[in-house]
Each structure stands twice: as C-alpha cells, then as structure tokens.
C-alpha cells in the first residue's frame, strides 16, 4: 500500500518527467519540451494538456512562433501543492498532496508546469473567461462570414460555436477600420476582421526575418499595417494568410475563388525546388484552387514559400500534350506508340543510345528509366535547374528530385555535365538514338539540328516543346499533382505524394508507360503500381534498401544516400 502510494506520488516522478493532473487525470509529462525554435524549455500547461488529450482553445499561440500571450483565450485555473511552514508539501492523512488553488488564472500557452500541479480547463470560471474573451473579440467584429474567405476554417467561428454566448449584448456603434488594404502583391488585409493576435507580425519578423508588419494606433483602434511607405513583399507572405486565425489576411490568388468546405484535400509535396515542402492540395472538380503547407518538422515546419505555392497555374495551360504523337506515329494511340518505341529500342545498339530524364520525375519513374538504361547500355543525365536560394526554405536546386536522380544513377556528377557530351556524340555520329523524358533538350545545349541527325528520337513532356515537336514519337506525361509517387529532397529525405486531379486527355502517368516500355523492351515482368515499382527499386538500389513504401508515411524518411 505504502509502496504504491510512493510510486504514485506526483512529487516523485522519474528523472526528466513531471507529474501533473489535467481535469482530474494524472499524466507524466517531460520537464522540458521544444519551443518554437526547437530549443528545450520548461513544458507549458498548454503542452501538458495536449499530452493529456485535452485541447486548450487558443488564438495567439502557435507552436512555431514565439509566445505572445495576448489573446487570453487559453486562460485556465490551476493549483499547486500547498507548502507548510517548513516549506515542505502538506499532505492529507492518506498521503496525497494538499493542493492550493491559485486565486488568479494563468495563460496555459506561457505558464510552465511544476511538479504536482493541477490544471483545471473546464471549470465554470474557465468557461466564463473563454466566453468573455469571445464576446470581447466579437463586439467590434464585422461578422461578414457570408462573404469571408475564412468561413469554414475560422477559429472565431469555431470557438464561438463551442465556447461563446448565443446573443450579443453589444448595443454601441462598432469601431470601423479599413477593410481593403492592399498590403503587398499577394496579400489583402481587412483590419476589421483582425483579432490582433500578432501571429502575422511574429511570423514575418521572427521566422522570415523581415520586420515588415506592425500594429498602429492603440486600444480598440489598434490595426495591423505594413510599415508606412513599404509593401509587404517577401517570399513567405502567404503563410500569414494560413496562420491568421480569422479572415483578416487573405491570399489574392485564392480569395473569392472557392468555399473551403468544397475543397478536396490531397496530401502532396511542392515540386518547385529541392526542399520538397509538404503541402495539401485543395481541388474541386479536377481543378486546383490552392496549395497550403502541411507541417513537417524535418522539412518545412508549417511553412512554404510564395513562389512554390503559386507555381500551379501552368498545370491548366492550353498547350498541354493530351495524346501520343510524333512523325512516325500514324494514329494517336498508346498501344501503337509503345509498340513503335519498343521496336526501335530493341534495335538500338549499346554505345549508340543515350537517355535524358528529368529530375522532376519521381523516384519510381527514374528507377524504370534506370532499368531501361541498364538494359540498353545507355548513358544518362538530367537537366539541372537553379535559381537564387533564400535564408528559409527555397533552395538553389529548382528540381524536386535531383537527389533521387543521383541515388538512382541517372544524374551525372555534377548533374548536366553529360549534356554537352551527348551533343558532341550526336554530331560525330556516335549516338544514333535518344530518349528524352520530361525535358526540352533544345534549351539545354542539344539543338534541333542535332536532333535531326538522329535515327531515333522519342520524347515525353507535359507541354509541347522543341524536342517533342521534332520527335519520332512523343508521349504526354503528367504534372506531379496528377499522379502518385515519391521524391527525394536535397537533404536525402524521401517523401511520397498522392494524386489530386486527373491528367487531361489521354495523358498518363509516366510510371505506367515507362513500366510497359521496360517490360516490352527487356522482356522482364513487373507489377504496375507505384508500390510494386518501389519494391523492385528498394531491392536493387542500396540507398532505398531499408525503406518500405508504407514507411514513408505522411512525412517521409531519410535515405541512406
């Protein structure tokens, strides 16, 4: 009996742990937990509650931003073990601790827990405090939910339903502020909707390092603004629209386009650079409406860059390739195209054929290219793409899968060095056949004249380009949002993504027809799903050996490359 009491004693927790009680449930929580920058700091009440399965409503708190403590939505009541005159905890006759309830509430987001602390998140007092914070937030709120883009994913709506009072007691004239402020090229601000949680300010100042936003005026007249004479323009502005708990900051790209509850959400990745930010694609009826970041602490935290976020409109361009074609194809038919290419490849002589494959293709697709290359004895390379990197996420490598192409032996070292070699070998007649997957080599040193010398040229891409225009066969490919697969980011993390929309016309994912080509040319057989190709890949490529498709989960894993 005494023994069990001892082990249940909240003051005698294992090292590094603290015992706290949340709404009557005792839990062990770590003494320290990561703060917004990942530094270990004393665990807060809010974190402890989360670990106990209790959500404390909050507006200003964001796990990836410095704590502000200004909204007061997270106020809770609490008590700590009472101390006797000897500064020792006072105990009941049964050995349990006497808890002294604090007369004042505390904000859960900023208050550290202490051994034996009891946190009360649903007392009548706490409920009233939440109700009053909501009432205060609403009295000067314009309530334009019917025309507000945030409706449906608005914390003010959600908490008002859950914790608010049904009717308004406010009979005065509301404070009016500016409702249409063009903050910068991509963001609009409605000051009346703003609840002054300062998330946008902290993100921009502390995460991006751009001290661009602030508050002007004071009291209830306070309003968010860009510094006078400046516009809000850095590569991360759209994240503020994501973290704004209300509809005060909206994306010019997305506002008034679609009600959020109609959007289908697909787990995906950004393919605009080698970082591989995790995203959610919002689409409806085969049309993409927005990319939003998905939290992955190993990659992009909760953010993504504006460049990557807005780089999706090209998917709907009218010059998409929608059917197989080329000078040697008589009817736009997949069967004929694959047959024609396979027949030509079977005749190709090792040493006289080369392959250029895009580092925008997935690991699985590049693996199929590798199989083909190995069988044909063809040297390979991909096309490097670069641009300026920034200090947060955007990296200089603008291909999403250069690392994968390297691990699979498709990319030369450094990527692209083989392209001028291929050009020379075409000109001197050594290379007679060329396969180009997902690139336009005419823009990368192999001219249309060079291509005209070839006996055989097959190409694929998403749009028509200088290479597909002169190919004997060309095949329509897919944007990554139109297929499944995985990319390996610049740091060697392999991550998977799902299909959001269907490709146009007869276009098919590269994986499907590459696999057919491989089977046809090599005579080997292989399963047709992404998973089965992945299985084959990991059996063969050391960097992926210990990774199963299921291991990739939602956040990917590190390769051993």
């Amino acid at each position: 009996m005494k023994q069990s009491q001892q082990s249940n004693d909240p003051l005698a927790s294992p090292p590094g742990m603290i015992s706290v009680t949340v709404d009557g449930r005792t839990v062990l929580v770590p003494r320290t937990m990561p703060d917004w920058q990942g530094r270990q700091v004393p665990t807060t009440m809010l974190q402890a509650c989360e670990l106990a399965g209790v959500t404390v409503p909050h507006y200003c708190y964001h796990p990836k931003l410095p704590v502000a403590g200004n909204c007061r939505m997270c106020l809770v009541e609490y008590g700590v073990p009472a101390l006797g005159p000897d500064r020792k905890p006072v105990r009941q006759p049964d050995g349990s601790l006497v808890i002294k309830k604090s007369p004042r509430p505390a904000i859960a987001c900023a208050t550290p827990v202490s051994p034996g602390m009891e946190i009360y998140t649903s007392t009548p007092t706490v409920k009233l405090m939440r109700q009053s914070v909501l009432e205060f937030l609403l009295i000067n709120h314009p309530l334009d939910c019917p025309i507000c883009d945030q409706a449906g994913e608005c914390k003010l709506q959600e908490y008002s339903v859950e914790y608010g009072r049904a009717s308004s007691r406010f009979a005065e004239t509301k404070v009016h502020k500016n409702k249409q402020i063009d903050l910068g090229p991509r963001i609009m601000l409605d000051q009346e909707r703003c609840i002054l949680c300062s998330r946008c300010i902290r993100f921009t100042r502390d995460v991006v390092g751009d001290d661009a936003l602030g508050i002007i005026n004071r009291g209830s007249y306070s309003a968010i603004a860009a510094y006078p004479g400046t516009t809000f323009d850095n590569n991360y502005t759209l994240n503020t629209a994501d973290i704004c708990p209300v509809g005060a900051l909206t994306s010019k790209d997305f506002r008034f386009q679609m009600r959020v509850w109609f959007l289908k959400e697909t787990m995906s990745l950004c393919a605009s650079c080698g970082t591989g930010c995790n995203i959610v694609i919002g689409s409806r009826e085969n049309c993409i409406y927005r990319f939003t970041p998905r939290q992955n602490d190993a990659v992009n935290s909760c953010w993504m860059c504006d460049y990557g976020r807005l780089n999706y409109r090209w998917i709907e361009r009218t010059d998409r390739l929608t059917r197989p074609g080329g000078s040697k194809l008589t009817s736009p038919d997949w069967e004929d195209a694959i047959n024609g290419i396979a027949a030509a490849l079977k005749k190709a002589v090792p040493g006289h054929i080369a392959i250029v494959a895009s580092a925008r293709l997935t690991n699985e697709e590049l693996y199929l290219v590798r199989r083909l290359a190995q069988f044909l004895g063809a040297p390979t390379d991909c096309v490097p793409r670069s641009g300026p990197a920034d200090n947060l996420l955007l990296c200089a490598d603008r291909n999403p899968n250069t690392k994968g192409a390297q691990l699979l032996g498709i990319a030369a070292s450094p990527p692209g060095v083989n392209l001028p070699v291929f050009a020379r070998l075409i000109r001197n007649g050594t290379i007679r056949s060329l396969l180009v997957f997902g690139e336009d080599v005419t823009r990368h040193g192999i001219t249309a004249d060079d291509l005209a010398r070839l006996d055989f040229l097959a190409a694929s891409d998403i749009h028509t380009n200088g290479t597909t225009a002169v190919s004997h066969y060309f095949l329509p490919g897919c944007a990554h949002v139109e297929k499944r697969g995985s990319f390996t980011n610049v740091h060697g993390r392999i991550q998977r993504f799902e299909k959001a929309v269907d490709p146009p016309g007869l276009a098919r994912p590269e994986l499907h027809w590459l696999r057919e080509l491989v089977c046809r040319v090599t005579g080997q057989s292989m399963g047709g799903t992404v998973e089965s190709v992945f299985e084959a890949m990991r059996a063969e490529v050391p960097a992926f050996r210990n990774i199963a498709w299921a291991d990739l989960g939602d956040h990917g894993v590190a390769t051993h490359g």
């Binding site: 200004n70 007061r72 405090m129 205060f136 005065e172």
Partner: protein, 468 residues
C-alpha cells in the same frame, strides 16, 4: 496636530532653493553618496565580511521602504530578487513616467530638486552593481527632461557620474529617455519595451520578470522617482532610523497629491500612516477643507485606478493594539490612516499617493465616464479583455452621461467590468480600468439608477424596448 514631515521636500520648500548643483551642494547634497562610496567591508563573527554594496542593500531592507510607484512592493525585496549570477549587466531604470491621473509628485522632485533624484539613483546603482541607468521620463515633461539633462551634465562635471566616480573606480552613466505620450509606458515592462525602442506592450510574466529578464533581456531594476529619492535618505540617516518614521509596515515619509474639490490642492509630504483622510482633506496643513457650503461625496484614494470611497462609508480594518495583539475595528473612512496597508485593508489602494476629493457638485456618472474615457484611450490594445472592454465601458458610459441610458445598462456595465480584472490581462491596467467602474457602480448605484430612470421617464419608448 497633524502636520507635514519633510524629508524629500525639505530643500524644495526652502525659499530661494534652486536646481543647480551648487545650491544642492550648499544644502548637503551628495553627502549620502560620499558616505555610501566610503563604506568599508564589515567583518562578521563567522570570519566572512559584508561588502559595502550589500550593506546598502541591507539598510534599504531594514528601512522597510515600499515602492512609491503604485504597488507598494518592498524595495529591499525587489533588489534581492535581482539575478546577480547571470553574468549579464544589471540595469536600473527610474520610472518618471508619472501619468496616473491625480499624481504630480515626481514632477515636483524633478522640477525642483533634480540632484536629489540623481544622488538616490547613483547610490541605488552602486548598491546593485549597475553601470548604466536610465531615467524614463513622461513625454509631456519636456521641461523636466531639460532640467534633468542639465543636472546630469553638472553631476558628470563634478565627478559624481561617469568614469571612476569620486576616485573610487566605480563607473556609472545615466541617460534620459523621453516617452511619447502613453500612460502604459509607466507599467514597468511596457516601459522596458519602450526603452528598447518598441511599442510599450507590457510583457507576460512569466517569463519576463524584470529582475531576471528585463531591459535587453538582462536583470533590471525599475523604481519610481520618489522611491529612489528615499534611498538617498535611508543611506543618509540609516535604515533603522528611517523605519522609525511612519508605522511598522509603512515606514518613512510619502508624498501625497491632493486634488479635486479642496481649498488647498497640492503635494504634501507625510509620515506614512500618521495622518488620516480627514486630516488630509480638512486640516489647514493639508487640503484645507472643502469649498463653502459643499459636502464631501467621494474620495478616490490612490489615483483614478483605485476603488472609490463614499463619504460616510464605514470601513473595517485590522489594527495592532498597544499590547501587540491584532484586532478588527470599524471606522469612518475619514478616520482611516493614509498608508498602503490600511487603505488596501479597506478595499482600495493608496497607489501612487494621489487623493482625488469630490464634493456634492460632482455627477458620479460624469466622473466615471471621464475616467473610463481615459482608460479606453490609454489601453495599449495588446490583450483582448482590456482592449475591447475598456472601450465598451467608455461607450456605455458616454451614453449614460448623455442621458441615453437604459436600466439594463448598469448590470451590463458591471458585468463587462467583471470580465476584465483578476489576472485575465497581461498587465494591471486591466484592474486599473475596471476597478473604478466596479466600485463607482456599487457605491453610487443610486445615482446611476436615478440617471437611467430619468431617461426612461423622459423616453418611455426606450424603457419599453428594454422591457421587451
């Protein structure tokens, strides 16, 4: 016979006394500093020694000095909480933001005897190992800043400031920082933010206790002007001697600012707890009584943030009998001694030492509307309850004062006021803006009810709408 007791105002009240350093020196100025700097380590029976700095800190602790900025927190205790092991510099900031309505004592000191403050500051800095200190002065005190600037120049020239002060090897400089006209800059963490060049948003505590994470995230002491002047007198006369002034929990002297409907409004220095409200309002030595044919209606005892007393109100306080035993007694509010403990035991606070006297010519609805307008204007706007609540209350009161009130407004107003204080806000402004509303509504409810009833009688349509 109640009378003033001059310590801080001693020189100021002398005819011909001026702000220049020669005058200060002629009146014994900087002697306390010399004394402090000359202190030698004192050997202890156990073989250790107490250094000069610690000796000064102990004297301040013994003196029982409580901060004069508003909260009445023990000065010795505040200094003892300073993190002296962080390896970071320790800063001292003199809070000269004096903005609490009704308060005009710090300005007296700054305008009339700036060197007294500077001497107190140098001693406080020396005692706490501070080498850089600031005077944060209210933006509107343009003349005060000018006077202080000149006095600092003089002190530097005389070797009391700068490098190697009086040959002791101790370095200190003091800079003046002018506010930009916001009441919230008086709140110590808001002040620190402002001093760092930011908006004066008060900081959350935890973790930003100034004694640990203050100015530039370094340990920082924030003391009021009058508190720092008292330090000079404590070193001068010794902590124990200082503690003999006043009463046990409320030692020393204190500046009291009497304003409102009295004949002799002004700043008076009293022995704390030795003078009652009756003395302060009616005695010839102080307020000198009300204007002819007027009756006392209300006393706001410690700046407009303090809860109001109604004339004739009986308050219960605990007192110490001659034999040392505590006993509870009921008395007329006018008989309450003016000190931190008594006024707070009676349900309010002596705050910044500002007593605002209201006679029967005051319309309490107007009074409260005026106070609330001030708070709505001064709320920094950082945290939700204060930002929204302060303006809501002001708007309701504006309406009531204009004769547009409804009976239900009173309960609503009280309910709004109840939703702000009690630790729900980042700083004590939340209490400051709601306490006057709570207390005036309760203590002068009849006046508020009469006002809305008059409206209802005049405009039955509104009253009817209300009933519905």
């Amino acid at each position: 016979m109640p009378s003033e007791r001059h310590l801080i105002l001693k020189n100021i009240r002398k005819p011909g006394y001026s702000t220049d350093i020669e005058c200060y020196l002629r009146h014994g100025g900087y002697q306390a500093l010399r004394k402090a700097l000359a202190l030698q380590p004192v050997a202890q029976p156990d073989g250790t020694a107490i250094g000069p700095k610690e000796q000064i800190r102990r004297e301040v602790e013994i003196s029982g000095l409580r901060g004069r900025g508003g909260a009445g927190f023990s000065c010795g205790m505040k200094w003892s909480l300073v993190d002296r092991k962080s390896g970071k510099p320790i800063y001292l900031v003199c809070n000269a933001d004096e903005s609490e309505p009704g308060t005009f004592k710090d300005r007296q000191i700054i305008h009339r005897d700036p060197h007294q403050l500077i001497e107190g500051m140098i001693i406080a800095c020396y005692a706490n190992d501070v080498h850089l200190a600031f005077i944060y002065i209210r933006g509107e005190f343009i003349e005060g800043a000018r006077i202080l600037e000149r006095a600092l120049e003089e002190a530097r020239a005389a070797g009391f400031l700068g490098r190697n002060i009086l040959g002791t090897g101790y370095d200190l400089d003091i800079y003046i920082h002018r506010g930009a006209g916001a009441y919230i800059c008086g709140e110590e963490t808001g002040l620190i933010e402002s001093l760092e060049g930011k908006r004066p948003y008060p900081r959350i505590k935890p973790p930003y206790f100034p004694a640990v994470l203050g100015l530039y995230q370094c340990p920082t002491i924030v003391n009021n002007v009058e508190t720092l002047c008292a330090v000079k007198h404590i070193v001068d006369m010794g902590g124990a001697e200082y503690a003999r002034l006043g009463t046990p929990d409320n030692t020393g002297t204190r500046l009291v600012c009497i304003s409102g409907h009295v004949k002799r409004p002004g700043c008076y220095e009293i022995e704390v707890g030795k003078v009652t409200f009756r003395d302060l309002i009616f005695d010839e030595a102080f307020g000198g009584g009300l204007h002819d044919a007027r009756q006392l209606k209300a006393i706001i005892p410690g700046g407009v943030s303090a809860k109001v007393f109604r004339a004739g109100e009986k308050v219960r306080v605990t007192k110490r009998a001659a034999d040392g035993k505590m006993f509870e007694t009921e008395m007329d509010v006018l008989d309450l001694p003016y000190d931190f403990t008594s006024v707070s035991a009676a349900g309010s606070m002596s705050g910044s030492g500002a007593i605002i006297v209201l006679d029967d010519s005051a319309d309490m609805v107007e009074v409260l509307a005026n106070i609330s307008e001030f708070f709505a204007h001064e709320s920094c706007g950082q945290c939700t309850p204060c930002r929204e609540g302060s303006l809501w209350m002001a708007k309701i009161l504006r309406r009531l004062a204009k004769g547009n009130g409804q009976p239900a407004d009173l309960a609503l107003l009280l309910s709004v006021a109840d939703q702000i204080p009690g630790g729900r806000t980042i700083c004590a402004f939340g209490e400051a803006c709601s306490w006057p509303v709570q207390s005036l509504l309760v203590k002068f409810g009849d006046e508020f009810r009469a006002k809305v009833q008059a409206t209802a009688d005049k405009r039955p349509d509104r009253a009817f709408a209300e009933v519905q």
